[in-house]
């Protein structure tokens, strides 16, 4: 596996496709890693462009430092990865928290981001960190239920070894690092900031998603945003409509 040292942290990186890379995929928080993109959308996109996927610090097969989980540090980590991979300007593709990270990166380093593909992304609006801590700081049965829900439609459902390992890893991240306090203290932006984003954005949301409002806010912002709402889908739209999400994103990269 490729391990790339970024700002002193060893990150697990996967490189797909030929030619210079300009698409970087970011995954969701805690119960996620690069495999979500690896087995769904990344490879078809890699037929068109060079692609990079990485595990955020503390996730998948990347190192798990005890601190540095605030949004600014994670954005710097993403930009450090772009530097390390020689990518001057990237299309960022993010699911859930990965989308929030991509948006924050575009706000802080507009010159490094060419476009955004957001799948049920939260926006870094005022209070987002506190809200996210509320859903992450669960324990025992509640956490097991979250794992069950998030991974219901992925490899190894009903697998005790996997559930235990996921719970262990999630526990180590939530309890063994500064993740929760870092999220609480993270940067946020006023709603007007998102309207000022002028780069091309494909925003895919589930019609039943609890963060649909964030997508709507982006959609209202300008003609640079293509807003696709998938009927009957929730926040887990990437799993509920994998083929459609894949086809939509591949079409986007074919046209852009």
């Amino acid at each position: 596996m490729a391990e790339v040292s970024v700002n002193g942290v060893g990150l697990h990186v996967q490189r797909l496709g030929d030619g210079p890379a300009d698409v970087v995929f970011a995954h969701g928080l805690v119960m996620d890693n690069l495999s979500s993109w690896y087995f769904t959308v990344a490879n078809p996109v890699a037929q068109l462009r060079g692609v990079r996927l990485y595990d955020l610090r503390g996730h998948g097969r990347s190192a798990r430092p005890t601190q540095g989980y605030d949004l600014d540090t994670l954005v710097d980590e993403l930009v450090g990865l772009l530097d390390a991979e020689g990518i001057e300007q990237a299309h960022l593709v993010g699911n859930s928290f990965g989308g929030l990270l991509a948006v924050a990166c575009a706000l802080r380093y507009p010159e490094r981001v060419r476009g955004l593909v957001l799948v049920d992304a939260l926006l870094p609006r005022k209070g987002w960190g506190e809200a996210m801590v509320g859903t992450l700081a669960t324990t025992g049965e509640e956490r097991d239920a979250t794992i069950e829900r998030v991974f219901a439609s992925w490899l190894g459902r009903h697998s005790s070894r996997k559930r235990n390992r996921l719970a262990k890893q999630a526990g180590a991240l939530v309890e063994g690092t500064t993740l929760l306090e870092d999220l609480r203290a993270s940067t946020s932006w006023p709603d007007e900031a998102f309207a000022a984003l002028s780069l091309p954005i494909l925003a895919i949301y589930g019609a039943e998603s609890d963060v649909l409002g964030d997508g709507q806010l982006l959609a209202d912002a300008g003609e640079n945003v293509v807003f696709d709402v998938f009927d009957g889908c929730s926040h887990s739209v990437i799993w509920e409509a994998t083929a459609q999400v894949r086809d939509r994103i591949v079409r986007w990269f074919g046209e852009i």
């Binding site: 596996m1 996967q14 797909l16 890693n33 690069l34 495999s35 979500s36 690896y38 087995f39 769904t40 990344a42 490879n43 078809p44 595990d55 998948g60 097969r61 439609s153 992925w154 490899l155 190894g156 459902r157 009903h158 697998s159 005790s160 070894r161 996997k162 390992r165 996921l166 799993w239 994998t242 083929a243 894949r246």
Partner: protein, 90 residues
Amino acid sequence: MSREDTLQILAGFIRDVIGDEWDDDMEVAFDTSFSDDLELESIEFVALAESVQAHFGDHVDFVGWISNLELDQIIALTVGEVVDFVESCR
């Protein structure tokens, strides 16, 4: 190389990927399921895909093959199906 040889190569990769948690009672046969029997995590599956690709070369486009499967098919994959895929690329 026979199907049995390919199976043994895959079994070696699977053991490496599972690492310390490998249980000597675990058996890898053609009908062994990645999910139900081996309980492979998706990130471990990435590592396996990497090993398969590196060993058999670019003409065995394992990741591309997986990407075209529906989720239910991936979940239900057996080691034998991966062996057959590798063999079909020869």
